[in-house]
Amino acid sequence: MTSSYQHQGTGRDYQKNLLGAWYRRLENAPRDGTPVAYLFISGNIGELLRSFGFELLFPEVNALQCGIKKVSGGMILKAEDLGYSSDVCGYVKNDIGLAATGNRGPFGALPKPDLLVCTYSGCNTYIKWFEALAELYGARLFLLDVPYRRTGETQRQEDLDYVVAQLEQLAAVCAEITSRPYDPDRLSQSLAHSRAAEDLWVRILESARHRPSPFDAFFEAVFFMAPIYVLRGTRECVDYYEAAWKEIEERLRYRIGPVSEERFRVVIEGPPPWPHFRNFWELFKRWGVCCVASTYSKVGGIWDFGLRHDPARPLESLAEYAVNCYTNWDWTLRRQMLDRYAATYQADALVIHSVKSCRAFSVGQADVREYFTKTRGLPTLFVESDLADPRYFAEAQIRNRLDAFFEALEHRRLAAHRPEAARPGA
């Protein structure tokens, strides 16, 4: 095992620089006369907007940045002062708090939107959130209504046609705002970049099939996935994944993983508790836990299931992508995804981090837990806190649950390797 290697830290550092540069572009957008569109990560059609010259801003990413930099608590309180209830999604309240305090966060100042594009893809909070922003900024709101994906149905053509028709409308709106005509060639070029980045990202994700896994598909993936979420469709995004893959390749070569000794492989469902991200990760590291697959790293796209943007079918492939984002799948499809991850990545357990204020993710998780423990016999740990609201994170309790869970797994593993007579209770 080598403790340092040529590309060590590339994945993290490079993305940090890319994001920093992107936030600076956003900060300078008003001065540079660049139009700005706000949109959501899930099922976003960013390439279309970018083809009109929009700079993109993702309030969810701002919220998670506030969370990880530990300023979300104050933003949330600010929104609660304005009358938002404690049950409202922490991301929304963070964003409202941010807007109410001059739209300046740890990442710098944020520009006002020229256009708000709400992809309604599984989370109805999205609609209310952007309606509030539209009112706050007096900005134009375009609602992209995305039909829900149901089990047992192949992708319906009429669903895709419905989304494509809306994308055409959206293109007309963009042309009006930017005074630029819709340019399908430019869009196709961008989608070719998307596709190239998607291929590389899937390669990184699937590297976690190795033992030890070179990559933590949750705690590290949240950094590695940022460029494909916010800069997809650009050349710099492809460059990033080429560089990141070099790091992973090297880790594979030297059998380096995110934990010094991989003792447990888990699949994780649910988003991270951003304000306590590091502590939460540490609780897993202490037990030598590596996450080998996660659903959160798929909220921006489930490319590992074969989905790709297609330069030859620009609008249709954007529609396909929007319909097939994780939160827009029904629970049976999502459960099948977890099932497949548990099997192909040889997981020892499933960990569900349930988020109090996010119903899109959390409703149904108790059934998932039941399915895996009772039907599949896969040990499942259920912990709960929040993705943005630090008040919901009870470290002592979460730690206790985690310790008890991995302790029990370890006992069973040790007992399985011990002669019958020496087993406790035997």
Partner: protein, 280 residues
């Protein structure tokens, strides 16, 4: 050879000392209070005093409970989930489900035929459905904890307590009393509310007989009855139910000692030690 287990709970700290034949030689209980470290020492010393032996006769000590990370003299820390399981399966070997109601949390544990934890579920952050809920009721009614069960036993028509919040339940009790409801009916309602919440946790892990009831609240016969009525099953309740975590911890210590490990008299978490308790 002696081994010890110390269970530092939110309300009470318990210690158990076992001999080489796994016989319980002494038990002790002290209030945890504000100083966790002192409580652990006092409980341990008290149990030791009852054995008539000295600290160096204790080969291995395991700490458990919320305060375990601060145990000043433990050789190993094990979570209370594992310790309750160990203790409950030792006293009732056919245990498949454990319900533990302590001062601040309630947990349901599912166990396999090899006494291994296969699943567990705990109450969320609030104290609803825990011992604290009963304490709040006792306080409003001006009763001692020990009186709760016997008083509730006199009830003929238990009231439905709708609040699950420990703070609001006090208001609800006061309201019922002001309306002239008999104390025993209010109390029986409180017991049933806790039983209802416990049932939810038990269902999450899957109910399988035999069910062993552990923790301080298992000493309350009113609670045992309320649960048995709801479950329509009999529960295993040991006279030492409050000490089961400490006994389980001592059993882990026994296994370590039996595998020839001597206590290092320093804090080591099982995670940091790189191996889980019970490993040989």
């Amino acid at each position: 050879m002696l081994v010890a287990g110390v269970d530092i709970g939110s309300t009470a700290t318990k210690a158990a000392i076992l001999d080489e034949n796994k016989q319980v030689r002494a038990l002790s209980l002290v209030d945890t209070g504000a100083n966790v470290v002192r409580a652990a020492e006092r409980a341990f010393q008290e149990a030791l005093r009852r054995t008539g032996l000295e600290a160096w006769d204790v080969t291995f000590t395991v700490g458990t409970g919320y305060g375990r990370y601060r145990l000043p003299f433990g050789d190993l820390q094990v979570t209370e989930i594992s310790c309750h399981t160990k203790g409950a399966c030792f006293l009732f070997p056919r245990t498949r489900t454990i319900l533990d109601i302590g001062g601040q949390d309630t947990k349901a544990i599912r166990v396999n035929e090899r006494a291994e934890v296969t699943d567990f579920s705990m109450n969320d952050k609030c104290a609803a459905g825990t011992g604290r809920f009963l304490e709040a009721a006792a306080q409003v009614l001006g009763l001692e904890l020990g009186e709760l069960g016997p008083v509730a036993a006199a009830s003929r028509k238990p009231l439905k307590i709708t609040n699950v919040c420990t703070v609001f339940v006090e208001q609800e009790i006061v309201m019922h009393l002001a309306r002239g409801c008999p104390v025993e009916d209010v109390l029986a309602g409180v017991h049933q509310a806790i039983a209802g919440r416990s049932l939810g946790l038990l269902r999450r892990v899957g109910l399988e007989e035999e069910i062993t009831f552990t923790g301080g609240v298992a000493c309350n016969p009113g609670m045992v009855r309320a649960l048995e009525e709801r479950l329509k099953l009999r529960l295993n309740v040991a006279p030492e139910s409050q000490y089961i975590g400490a006994i389980g911890a001592a059993l882990f210590a026994w296994e370590r000692a039996a595998h020839g490990e001597a206590g290092r008299q320093k804090n080591t978490s099982c995670a940091e030690a790189g191996t889980g308790p019970g490993g040989g």
